[in-house]
């Protein structure tokens, strides 16, 4: 008679390290998450069917409210004061309310042009393109 083997492999998942893994994940999430720097402005952005993704690199960002307030790095400025405040950069993002007077935006564009900015990005919300595509 053959004696049966009584070796049994016990598979145990080490739960002791679970807390460490969980905390590591938690720290990763906290460190990598970014806080949105938008000032406390309620902006209704215009819609557009044509849009590009704005790259996440450091950009100068201006917020323009419905009433014409220009906010740069949490401070309010006048168009004429922007020239002295804006740093040398390549791209500027303008987030403006759709009800803002375009005249003000045009003045900002002129300021940016005189400060040798190369690109301007107008932030928009996506609009579903329902128009007939060109043949």
């Amino acid at each position: 008679m053959k004696a049966s083997r009584q070796y049994k492999i016990n598979v145990i998942i080490p739960f002791v390290t679970m807390a460490d893994i969980a905390f590591l994940l938690l720290i990763f999430l906290i460190v990598t998450s970014s806080v949105q720097k938008n000032p406390e402005l309620k902006l209704t952005l215009p819609q557009s069917a044509q849009f590009d993704k704005i790259k996440k690199k450091k950009n100068v960002e201006l917020f323009v409210s419905k009433g014409g307030e220009i906010i740069f790095e949490q401070d309010r400025y006048d168009v004429n004061d922007l020239i002295s405040v804006l740093p040398e950069d390549e791209q500027c993002i303008i987030s403006a309310d759709k009800e803002t007077d375009f005249k003000l935006i045009h003045n900002i564009i002129e300021v940016l042009k005189n400060n040798d900015y190369e690109k301007i990005a107008f932030t928009v919300t996506r609009k579903a393109d329902i128009s007939i595509k060109r043949k």
């Binding site: 905390f23 970014s34 803002t100 007077d101 564009i109």
Partner: protein
């Protein structure tokens, strides 16, 4: 002789529930996180040193922008008809320059509507000017 009290209170922080707390926090972070992707219309500005070019009337598309309607090379049109009107003009006359004259109280949202269509049409250079007061 006094009998010694053998009861000792031991203080311990319960570590067994630590992983539960951590996972609950992770789930909270994942659920509340928003994938923030920004979209925008990007355009290049001319250089400060760039020279101005004079164009004759038949070399560009003239767009007069009002809040309620548009005037494209003399033809009044609604914002909805802008795409077709511009497409027709750029096809017929092969014009790749558009000059947008905007009314003083033009809303930014309406400008974006025009810009949206121009961008869709492709290689059209634009110039923006305020409308001259009559």
């Amino acid at each position: 002789m006094k009998i010694k009290n053998k009861f000792k209170l031991t203080y311990e922080i319960p570590t067994s529930s630590q992983s539960d707390i951590a996972f609950l926090l992770i789930i909270f972070f994942i659920v509340t996180a928003i994938f923030f992707e920004r979209t925008g219309i990007i355009f290049r500005l001319p250089k400060k040193s760039s020279q101005t070019v004079q164009l004759s009337a038949n070399e560009f598309i003239k767009v007069e922008a009002f809040n309620d309607y548009l005037n494209i090379s003399g033809n009044e049109t609604e914002y909805e008809g802008l795409e077709n009107a511009l497409m027709q003009l750029s096809r017929e006359n092969k014009k790749n320059v558009a000059i947008i004259y905007f009314q003083e109280d033009l809303k930014y949202g309406n400008f974006i509507k025009i810009f949206d269509v121009i961008k869709k049409l492709g290689n059209i250079k634009i110039s923006i000017k305020p409308m001259e007061r009559v």
